[in-house]
């Protein structure tokens, strides 16, 4: 009689553990499907869009091409907040790279976003700037 009770008790316990385990695993599975990476990437993408808009509208990109000097772009990149890294490369309309600048102290890239902005310089020639941004 005591043996039977013990077996039922053991089976009941095993059954309870299995059900609880399945439930907990299902919860972990659902929670693992959520991601915050998208929001992080959106942030750095929007920073790239804003940066390029500023640099185009205040003629920094145009001046850089016309003087072949990236000092102001470099200063702008260095003024980005501590955790943000960025690289700006200027290209001709036929995609030949002509100038490039990268934030000082930034090297490795995990996940990065890329934004493009076109501009006109040097007697109506067409260029575009490519900004790659990532978290430090």
């Amino acid at each position: 009689m005591l043996k039977k009770k013990a077996i039922i008790f053991s089976l009941d316990a095993i059954f309870a553990i299995i059900i609880a385990g399945i439930m907990i695993l299902a919860c972990f599975f659902y929670l693992s499907q959520t991601s915050t990476n998208l929001y992080k990437n959106q942030d750095i993408y929007k920073i790239s869009l804003d940066s390029l808009t500023i640099l185009e509208k205040d003629n920094t990109l145009k001046t850089a091409v016309e003087t072949s000097n990236t000092t102001i772009i470099q200063q702008f990149l260095n003024s980005l907040s501590e955790q943000h890294c960025g690289n700006i490369t200027l290209y001709t309309s036929s995609s030949a790279a002509i100038l490039s600048a990268q934030k000082t102290g930034c090297t490795s890239k995990n996940e990065s976003t890329i934004a493009i902005r076109s501009f006109v310089a040097n007697n109506s020639n067409i260029y575009y700037a490519n900004m790659e941004a990532w978290y430090k």
Binding site: A26, C27, Y30, S35, Y45, S93, S95, I116, N130
Partner: protein, 278 residues
């Protein structure tokens, strides 16, 4: 004792079920937020692309800038134009830009962009004036030239000595004032002209063989056409003023149209290129 056990089991099952449902709801909500965020970003991106392509592009490629639009007893629109010369092919510059945007730029942004009616002219409504900048020539066609009250031009040319100059006689009631400076000299005639006849031009011939000429009147079977021709010289038009009779509608200066399609998010943005509005 048995009852307590059953109660404990049921409570545990309900608690586990609650945690399970909560995590499931969290996942669903998270996915919805991601979808919303993705669409919002796509919308931001299309607006950014539109601004990038259209902002200041007529000024950059056609070298014409709007200075002001003012409304009192007339509507006065003032532009300036630098570098009117044969060596700049405005039509080609616009075509090159259109090609770049529709090919390289579209590919780089993973979008399908189309510019229609995008060329070396723009229109001013409600007067239906069309401004065409073509190499060393500027043409302004106006559907109803009786809406024009006065035209004023201040032009500086890179010449020094003139050989002859001339101006039209008064034929109508649209005032045209011209002020041309060259090598420290000034030529500032004016005349009241009839838009439906082929009036004589305002002109200066220079010793180098170059000539600046301004016509207003009938041209190519259209009345009230203004033409500025900087032949073999470089002209800077520091003041290019059109004064129109008052109409209640808002003044809008429009270029072509732009269509941006993102095939990934299945969104299309189509809009007119508004250069400026009152």
């Amino acid at each position: 004792m048995n009852k307590k056990g059953i109660l404990f089991t049921i409570t545990t099952i309900f608690l586990l079920l609650a945690v399970f449902l909560l995590s499931s709801a969290y996942l669903t909500r998270n996915q919805e937020l991601q979808r919303t965020a993705t669409l919002s970003l796509a919308g931001d991106k299309l607006s950014y692309i539109e601004d990038d392509i259209t902002n200041n592009i007529y000024s950059d490629l056609l070298s014409i800038n709007l200075e002001s639009i003012s409304r009192d007893s007339y509507i006065t629109v003032v532009f300036n134009h630098s570098n009117l010369t044969l060596s700049i092919n405005h039509s080609q510059l616009i075509q090159d830009y259109k090609t770049f945007i529709e090919n390289n730029y579209s590919t780089l942004n993973n979008l399908d962009i189309e510019l229609t009616g995008f060329n070396n002219n723009f229109s001013l409504s409600p007067y239906n004036s069309t401004f065409i900048i073509d190499n060393n020539m500027i043409y302004v066609y106006t559907d109803n030239p009786n809406n024009i009250n006065n035209i004023k031009l201040v032009i500086d040319v890179n010449e020094t000595s003139n050989t002859s100059q001339g101006q039209p006689t008064n034929t109508g009631d649209i005032g045209v004032e011209v002020n041309i400076t060259y090598g420290g000299e000034r030529f500032n005639p004016s005349a009241n002209l009839d838009p439906i006849i082929n009036n004589n031009p305002f002109y200066i011939n220079f010793a180098s063989g170059s000539r600046i000429e301004i016509n207003f009147g009938s041209y190519n079977n259209q009345n009230g056409v203004l033409r500025i021709n900087a032949s073999q010289l470089k002209a800077d038009i520091s003041h290019f003023e059109f004064r129109y009779n008052l109409l209640s509608e808002k003044v809008i200066i429009k270029g072509g149209n732009i269509s941006i399609t993102s095939s990934i998010e299945n969104i299309t943005k189509q809009t007119e290129i508004i250069i400026a509005e009152e």
